[in-house]
């Protein structure tokens, strides 16, 4: 064998003689290159076809982009589309995209050829995209549906310019969830203050339970704990201002949040960074963990027979002057893209999505959410849904969630790694806060 002197010679040598080096005639070469020349045109043609195909095209059809890709939410979406078609006399084409993929591609999606109506989240996360001109003003729809919604929901649907860009459909509160039967068995009582919660947690530890189920592999679940502590220690307005970049992360108030959290970590499930929220919720389901700070979507982890066994209490008060009447309840809903192909149809669809009837369809199919529309019939609600609805209705202020109340780039590139490094090493709070503040300044000024 001749010694190959270059990589390509060597690699060519690996090809068995039977497979390669068949005479390569100039004719076949020409054919090949013509094919190559034609390829870009072909690809372009495909792209075109794909574009208009994905968009649906005219004929009165409205396209609806949805990130509700899991089993139950998908079933719910299909029911909603069917109901909308019947009621508004429109035809709707549902394009379901995997939940995480949808979020990750939102920029490209909205700038490419988005669907006429698409699912999204309320709050700053909505405003951020509305402010960049990627969504349509739907204030006229709010004139129709507005009376069915509370002021808090209208505020969560309003962009920085005072116009509405979002139709809220369902929401689910964050609180401390537990299993009723386990607590009855052990005689636990829902705590009113943080100290009581710590005492209860210590008792649970003695009883051989993991007091606070905890997971943060995905990066976002821990944000919920931060938000709860921040709102109990510093109040709702501070949360809003901090998330909007107006307060400093080096403020002693923020350090106090981390410091209080540090006190809870020994009572929280260890090794949280390698565990998903579903894995942590399994501990609640199996009665090996006592309680968990999480959203009402935890009910998706329970069997149908156990749905009545889920209960929750408000994250307890820390400072009596601040109280505990700020509640975190992220709202899901829909927006209209910048230039919908079928604008009239899109408005019809949004009118339906904001109607009381849609609330019924959604909350019946997926009992983990509560209808945002106050006129929506609640007689079919499960115990948990009823309690969640009252819980939020009695709250004085409603926050969204850290990653919905602040800029998306700040939440994902700064806060996720920062909270994870805090959980890993809770002792350097000063350094951590300085790092967050430095990065915040750079991002919020850009």
């Amino acid at each position: 064998m001749n010694r190959p002197s270059t990589e390509s010679e060597y690699l060519a040598g690996l090809v068995p003689a039977s497979a390669g080096r068949h005479g390569f005639s100039r004719r076949s070469m020409l054919r090949g290159s013509l094919l190559a020349a034609g390829l870009p045109a072909l690809l372009a043609a495909c792209g075109d076809g794909g574009g208009s195909g994905g968009g649906g095209g005219g004929g009165g059809e409205v396209t609806l982009g949805s990130n509700f890709s899991d089993e139950v939410p998908l079933k719910t979406m299909n029911a909603m589309v069917a109901a909308a078609e019947e009621q508004q006399d429109i035809s709707v084409k549902l394009n379901t995209i995997d939940h995480t993929t949808f979020q990750n591609n939102i920029n490209n999606y909205l700038q490419g050829s988005p669907d006429d109506v698409f699912s999204w989240f309320a709050g700053y996360r909505m405003q951020f995209f509305a402010a960049q001109g990627l969504a349509s003003d739907i204030s006229d729809i709010w004139e129709t549906i507005g009376s069915d919604y509370t002021e808090a929901f209208k505020k969560a649907s309003t962009g920085e310019d005072g116009k509405q860009y979002f139709v809220p459909t369902t929401y689910g509160p964050w609180a401390v969830f537990y299993r009723k039967s386990l607590w009855q068995e052990r005689g636990y009582q829902a705590p009113e203050t943080l100290d009581e919660m710590k005492t209860l947690a210590t008792q649970m530890q003695q009883d051989g339970l993991v007091p606070l189920a905890f997971a943060d592999k995905e990066g976002w679940p821990a944000m919920g704990t931060f938000d709860q502590l921040n709102m109990r220690l510093n109040g709702y307005q501070f949360h809003v201002d901090l998330m909007a970049g107006e307060e400093s992360w080096t403020d002693p108030k923020v350090k106090n949040v981390f410091d209080t959290w540090r006190g809870l970590l020994p009572l929280s499930q260890s090794d949280s960074l390698g565990r998903t929220w579903q894995e942590a919720a399994t501990g609640i389901v199996n009665k090996t963990s006592g309680m968990m700070v999480i959203g009402s979507f935890i009910s998706q982890q329970f069997d149908e027979a156990d749905q009545d066994d889920i209960d929750f209490f408000n994250f307890p008060e820390i400072d009596p002057a601040i109280g505990a009447d700020a509640v975190e309840a992220p709202i899901d809903g829909f927006m209209m893209s910048e230039r919908p192909r079928n604008e009239d149809g899109a408005r019809e669809l949004l009118l339906y999505l904001g109607s009381p009837e849609n609330g019924v369809v959604q909350t019946t199919n997926d009992p983990s959410g509560i209808a945002a529309n106050t006129e929506s019939d609640r007689s079919h609600y499960t115990e948990l849904q009823k309690k969640c609805a009252d819980f939020v209705a009695n709250a004085k202020s409603i926050s969204q969630f850290m990653d919905r109340d602040t800029r998306p780039d700040f939440a994902s590139t700064v806060m996720i790694p920062s909270l994870q490094s805090f959980i890993q090493n809770p002792n350097d709070i000063d350094g951590l806060c300085t790092q967050i503040e430095n990065q915040k300044k750079s991002i919020f000024t850009s």
Binding site: Q132, D409, S421
Partner: protein, 321 residues
């Protein structure tokens, strides 16, 4: 350097093979004129298409990344809205971006482990299998199997081994090590899974090389009284220099490309930071800090250029001889 030149060398294919005998004596001019219209079209296409592809898909994006790294573009709207902010992104990367330092360290660690662990192991297995011991086909297949799997899939497979609550390792050993979540462990867990694959790859390359080594060389060495180890390190290994270079390059490339596995594990956070995951985390997704991410990508490009230059220097020197 024959492969990148291929398209440019293509027009010359008309020269060495003047097929029709009657033209053998014709001069240079005539030979050029002999290119028919169709030939000329072929030549033009063969030069133009690869050029368009290379310029459009490699050079333009690379240059665009470098240019974008001086802006604060967030990926929305026209590029004209992007503000040029000079070296701000680079300053931020080096001063206030905590994941950057661990990312560089982890990339270097990756490189070192690939060199120090995976490559020697691959060579060892190649030599053992080359001896054609009993069942060597089985071992060859077993060791090569992971190579056909993508690193993303390998991440999923090892999750079954590593998972803290449900994983095989913890179940067998009765331990509760959080392999993927604990930053003291996860980089090693990821490296182990990567080596698991890389060893097979290196083995295959060396195996191919060993088959090509002239047997008489080994015989001659044995005649001179060299033992197995001496024969390998003094004779066989130096003869395989081109393969060594390829393995070297592949190792460097694989270390810089390291991405899929850690992305699957936890998106390159919390102890698994790598340059490639930082670029992705900033550019892809809701975040879209295109300018900042481009600065990271440019830094990565510069690091790669160092290795590419070394490689090109070595290969070109080889060509000159």
């Amino acid at each position: 350097m024959s492969s990148p030149d291929l398209p440019l060398a293509a027009p010359q294919t008309a020269h060495p093979a003047p097929s029709a005998g009657s033209h053998e004596s014709s001069g240079k001019n005539q030979r050029v004129r002999r290119l028919t219209g169709r030939d000329r079209l072929v030549v033009v296409l063969m030069v133009a298409i690869p050029t368009v592809v290379v310029v459009g898909l490699i050079w333009l994006p690379a240059i665009a990344s470098v240019l974008l790294s001086f802006t604060d573009w967030n990926g929305v709207g026209s590029l004209a809205d992007a503000k040029v902010i000079g070296l701000q992104n680079y300053t931020d990367v080096f001063t206030i971006y905590p994941p950057f330092k661990p990312a560089v360290e982890h990339n270097l660690l990756w490189l070192v482990v690939m060199f120090v662990v995976a490559t020697p192991l691959g060579i060892l297995f190649a030599v053992l299998i080359d001896k054609e011991l009993k069942g060597s086909r089985f071992y060859q297949t077993a060791l090569y199997l992971p190579v056909v799997l993508s690193l993303a899939l390998i991440g999923f497979i090892w999750q079954l081994m590593y998972s803290r609550d449900q994983g095989l390792i913890n179940a067998v050993l009765g331990t509760q090590v959080d392999f993927y979540g604990d930053p003291r462990w996860n980089i090693w867990a990821a490296l182990f899974a990567t080596c698991w694959r890389q060893v097979g790859y290196v083995m295959l390359l060396y195996l191919a090389g060993l088959k090509g080594v002239d047997a008489s060389l080994k015989e001659a060495a044995q005649m001179d009284g060299a033992n197995q180890v001496q024969t390998f390190f003094r004779i066989v290994f130096p003869v395989m220099r081109p393969i060594n270079i390829i393995v070297l390059v592949i190792t460097v490339i694989e270390s810089l490309r390291a991405f899929d596995l850690v992305w699957i594990i936890n998106q390159g956070r919390n102890g698994l930071e790598l340059l490639a995951t930082l670029v992705t985390a900033n550019i892809v997704g809701e975040a879209s800090r295109i300018g900042f991410g481009s600065a990271l990508a440019t830094i990565m490009l510069l690091i790669s250029l160092v290795f590419i230059s070394i490689y090109l220097t070595v290969v070109m020197r080889e060509d000159e001889r």
